[in-house]
Amino acid sequence: MSAESHPAPARPGAAALSPLRDFLQRLRRETYRAGPHVPLPASPTHLLREVAPAENLVSRFQTSAAMVGCRVHRVRRDEWLATVRGILRERSARTVLVEPHAETALTAERAAQLSEALEAEGVATSAQCVDESLFAADASVTGVISALAETGTLVCVSSAASARGASLIPPVHIALVSSSQLVADLFDFFERLGAWAELPANVNLITGPSKTADIEGVLVTGVHGPGEVHIVLTAD
């Protein structure tokens, strides 16, 4: 209806839209004269939560994350560095991507601390996410912006400080999570996300390692993404 009287404003991509506008008009005209009109359910979904915010989120998260195949290391606040180093040492990592992000538990300060410690052991570290470092890295260490107790999910977003590839391309992903970042339920997370002024271009909900069961239903991890996801969970 409106497209005829108000021509679409010229902006990138608008040229491609005229067949779509015609289509929408036709769709309105031909399809929706009668027919059912089911109402949209009201938005609050707290009655359908799996996990109540009052539950013990740390233990729930620990259980859920383990269930989906993550290895959870629940440690004291001052043990995170030793834990991360231990994981990397055990895997004989030679090259490690350390990606700090101010809004996560892996602050610039902590990242510097980790990089220094690793370099001292002869492990090459990098904070840049250019091609070669990503594909050459034996592991990546990142923070997350949120973690979900219900499903053991880690949430990573794209930004100027964090690459989409960091939690994806190296075969081992170590995520630093602090207990204050835990959200009870998927509904709670999406409610918060909806309140963001602007969504990042890429938001990833990571639930366990990369996996497939395509061949005879046999579960294999580490197809294209990391085969191991370690969560270093600290209380605060």
Binding site: P19, L27, P41, L47, E50, R164, P200, N204, L205, T207
Partner: protein, 469 residues
């Protein structure tokens, strides 16, 4: 010619392939059990399912408004939105994007819409190499096979067939170990991911409110595909829209549980526009191609409900017919119960007999996370082809209904049947009986037929039962 006889032969032929039938049995039973366990652990399963159905139906009932909102938002974020009325238009649009930018190597994440429009063939013809990156689709592609399940494309193959295809096509050492085969595919595809310049995906959902695409994957190839290439093209059916961001978790809570029994897919990726200024990585261009290809026609007809489908595959896994014939027998990109509804609506005549190949057991409806009443839709579709059923069958059905409308005739038929059906002396009619062979053969090929006992119930009733006590 009997239209169902072609389908009957195809299904019978498919069932004779013991290896496929065994593989499909194994895989579907495993998924049925995983799904049941996952749902049993979901506190508000029934309420979530009601709500998911309601959200999907509401969206379809108001689709133009939400499509417009989606286009508005996505465009404002810097995505280019295209519209493709049919398969050819979709292929032309994607090829044009690739050719005009000089893109040469495309990686694809698993997508049913691209299968539906046969995008790979079009891109190859336009000089663009396309590599499927989902492990199952990758094996399908190198083995020049067809997917047979919407979630598990190689459900019909056993590990030896996969091993042979990989050794032959990739020149790698022969191994039957799924983990080792997966590692080989990873190595092979990593090299492709480094060099690719075009990423092609579908979308599980498109959120009108925010202009966001949602992709759910397990292997990480979907994330690779929207991370590495400089151009991302998403081919999205117009019915994939959902209204608000907060509606997404309702469906996400059911989707992976229905598919594989997981609480969520390993990766749920929300894509809101192309790479932002300053972002470290991600595609510079995002093209969203909205695909009609028959969907608007379905929307305006009595089968709108089928477009609620979220492609979880639960109905395929639950279906005892699918389990015994596999996906190829359906001769459609969309096999199984949902395919038997969708295919005739999308492809018309060539698929119109599919709705008859169901015992209407109803498990497909039972497991559908958006409550599509598949058995009812199948029956509804059967009415559409009634005029094209074989003459003999139509006559028989009419004669039967005519007789059933006349109790005396029904009683006579009952008596005649008892008199004329030749049994083997023990009250059974078996396959060695030649009298009445033709009409009974379809039954006696698989099972013996009980001979009606000497007295029917109504004769018992008249003969004393009615007056007892």
């Amino acid at each position: 010619m009997n239209p169902t006889s072609g389908l009957r032969a195809r299904l019978a032929e498919a069932h004779r392939d013991q290896r496929v039938v065994d593989a499909v049995h194994l895989a579907t039973w495993r998924k049925v059990e995983a799904r049941a366990d996952a749902m049993a652990g979901l506190r508000h399963y029934a309420a979530l399912r009601d709500r998911a159905a309601q959200i999907r139906q509401h969206t379809l009932d108001h689709l133009p408004q939400y499509l417009e909102q989606f286009v508005e938002r996505a465009t404002a974020l810097g995505a280019t939105v295209h519209f493709a009325a049919n398969a050819d238009a979709a292929c032309a649009t994607v090829c044009d994007i690739a050719v005009s930018r000089g893109l040469k190597l495309a990686v694809k994440s698993k997508s049913m819409t691209t299968e539906e429009v046969h995008l790979n063939d079009a891109l190859l013809a336009a000089g663009v190499r396309v590599v499927e990156t989902d492990l199952g689709e990758f094996i399908v592609q190198i083995d020049r096979d067809r997917p047979s399940h919407i979630i598990t494309p190689i459900i019909h193959k056993d590990r030896r067939q996969v091993a042979r295809a990989m050794a032959r096509e990739l020149g790698c050492p022969y191994t039957e170990d799924p983990a080792e085969m997966t590692r080989i595919a990873r190595q092979h595809l990593r090299d492709i991911f480094r060099r690719c310049d075009l990423g092609i995906t579908g979308a599980n959902f498109a959120v009108a409110e925010t202009g966001t695409l949602c992709l759910v994957t397990n292997e990480g190839n979907g994330r690779m595909t929207v991370t590495r290439p400089r151009v991302h093209v998403a081919l999205v059916g117009i019915e994939k829209i959902i209204p608000r961001l907060i509606d997404l978790p309702v469906i996400l809570k059911l989707l992976a549980r229905s598919s594989t029994g997981q609480p969520l897919g390993a990766y749920t990726t929300l894509i809101t526009g192309p790479r932002r200024e300053g972002d470290v990585d991600g595609p510079e261009e995002l093209h969203i191609v909205l695909l009609d290809n028959g969907r608007s026609r379905i929307l305006s007809g009595p089968f709108r409900e089928v477009l609620r489908c979220v492609r979880c595959g639960a109905c395929l896994n639950a279906c005892p017919v699918y389990r015994n014939v596999g996906g190829h027998a359906y001769n459609s990109v969309y096999p199984g119960p949902i395919g038997s509804v969708l295919s005739p609506l999308l492809y018309g005549r060539p698929a119109e007999e599919l709705p008859r190949a169901s015992s209407l057991c109803g498990l497909c409806y039972q497991v559908c996370p958006v409550k599509i009443d598949i058995p009812r839709l199948l029956v509804q579709l059967r009415t559409a082809t009634r005029a094209r059923q074989p003459r003999g069958k139509r006559l028989l059905m009419r004669a039967w209904a005519w007789a059933m409308d006349r109790p005396w005739l029904y009683r006579l038929a009952q008596r005649l049947m008892r008199r004329l059906l030749p049994d083997d002396g023990t009250g059974w009619i078996n396959r060695d009986n030649h009298l009445f062979r033709r009409p009974l053969r379809a039954w006696t090929a698989q099972r013996d037929l009980l001979r009606p006992p000497p007295q029917s119930f109504r004769e018992l009733w008249k003969g004393g039962l009615g007056d007892e006590r």
